[in-house]
Subunit: 248 residues, 2 copies
Amino acid sequence: VSRYKLILEYDGRGLVGWQRQDNGPSVQAALEQAIFRFCGETVTAHAAGRTDAGVHALGQVVHVDIDKPTTTDTLRDAVNHHLRPAAIAVLSAEAAADDFHARFSAVRRSYLYRIVNRRAPLTLDAGRAWWVPTPLDAGAMHAAAQILVGKHDFTSFRASECQANSPEKTIDVLDVARRGEEIEIIAKARSFLHHQIRNIAGTLRLVGAGKWTRADMARALAARDRSAAGETAPAEGLYFLSAEYEDE
Amino acid sequence: VSRYKLILEYDGRGLVGWQRQDNGPSVQAALEQAIFRFCGETVTAHAAGRTDAGVHALGQVVHVDIDKPTTTDTLRDAVNHHLRPAAIAVLSAEAAADDFHARFSAVRRSYLYRIVNRRAPLTLDAGRAWWVPTPLDAGAMHAAAQILVGKHDFTSFRASECQANSPEKTIDVLDVARRGEEIEIIAKARSFLHHQIRNIAGTLRLVGAGKWTRADMARALAARDRSAAGETAPAEGLYFLSAEYEDE
């Protein structure tokens, strides 16, 4: 048996998320089925980030074990063939060490949250970004975001259904920058709590709109109470960008 | 009556194109209906570029005449409200001179043609770019494109159903550049023949793939015969970018 590391891109619309579920199509089930069609083996795919329904990926990292001898190019092309017409694609496949684990070996995960900040509703970007029609100050959002960088108890930004043992996480990077009518939030950490980035994005919106100050952000963090922070921003703005591993 | 200049963005998927037709939803019909819902007036909308089915717009220019007194902000927001859920949006509205004509006053039109050049099929960009899985040399495409710049008889790149009086057009700009896995073609001219840019894109692909040389491109242009040039690239890669007017 050989272990392979796959990089996946997918459009989260119409998917129930990474994880296999009874209520609709998941990335995991689609990938495992495509691999079955390729080699006749029933595999379990493990991902660096278990993205929620509607969340996209530009560089999800997955590992699978396959018995059938193959080349990485054949694996990538054949799985892509069998994934059609799902909006899921294998960008690359490479051989991985036997002890490589896409989820447990990851030491850093990077996400992008996209806001389109303009009066007009979205057309080409519908379902691919959060539409915020009122003006946002990206500089103020970035300044307030720096309060969250570092090791903190993120209970205020944690979904009630979060299964992590501890609410403590260390955010390495939380950058907010405007590019034209778009505001991009880049978040990097070893791992995140459930809905942590979407809850942060929803709270940063309050700062960007001038309703909240940096001091309000600090108070929300200190409160350790989900109701002290802002709304959960929609899934459609969130993208899993990449995962990093120690050997890299 | 007041004349207004509107800038439109739309996702061409599921639309039969700009022009009103019996066989499906058009941008023109959707816009005219939204304006009717706003002010009760039956107007005719005129566009700078009569985009085909599946072609997108990032900055289509339209003019309409409306009797009802309104502000440009109200017009933009109300028409956007009534356009929902169509993937068509008014980015801006401004007052225009009585003799302004979105189509006949335009002195330059700019289009973008997007190719995504990678092995993996498209997910988030499906329907929004032409997927070309074999490697393309953007530098060779750009060099060959320069043969088409200037005033020429473009019969070889003209759809058989084209209604222009003459096959002569003057291309001001035809730039090809790679940005990562994407190849962008920018085309600018006073006006284009029917399918001209898509026929050029399909022919440039032959050059990018190494099947054609610059000399082949020159021969195709000189042939004045549609069958001498390459295939028609798909509509989904084409975007109407902008139109320029003399007073600007």
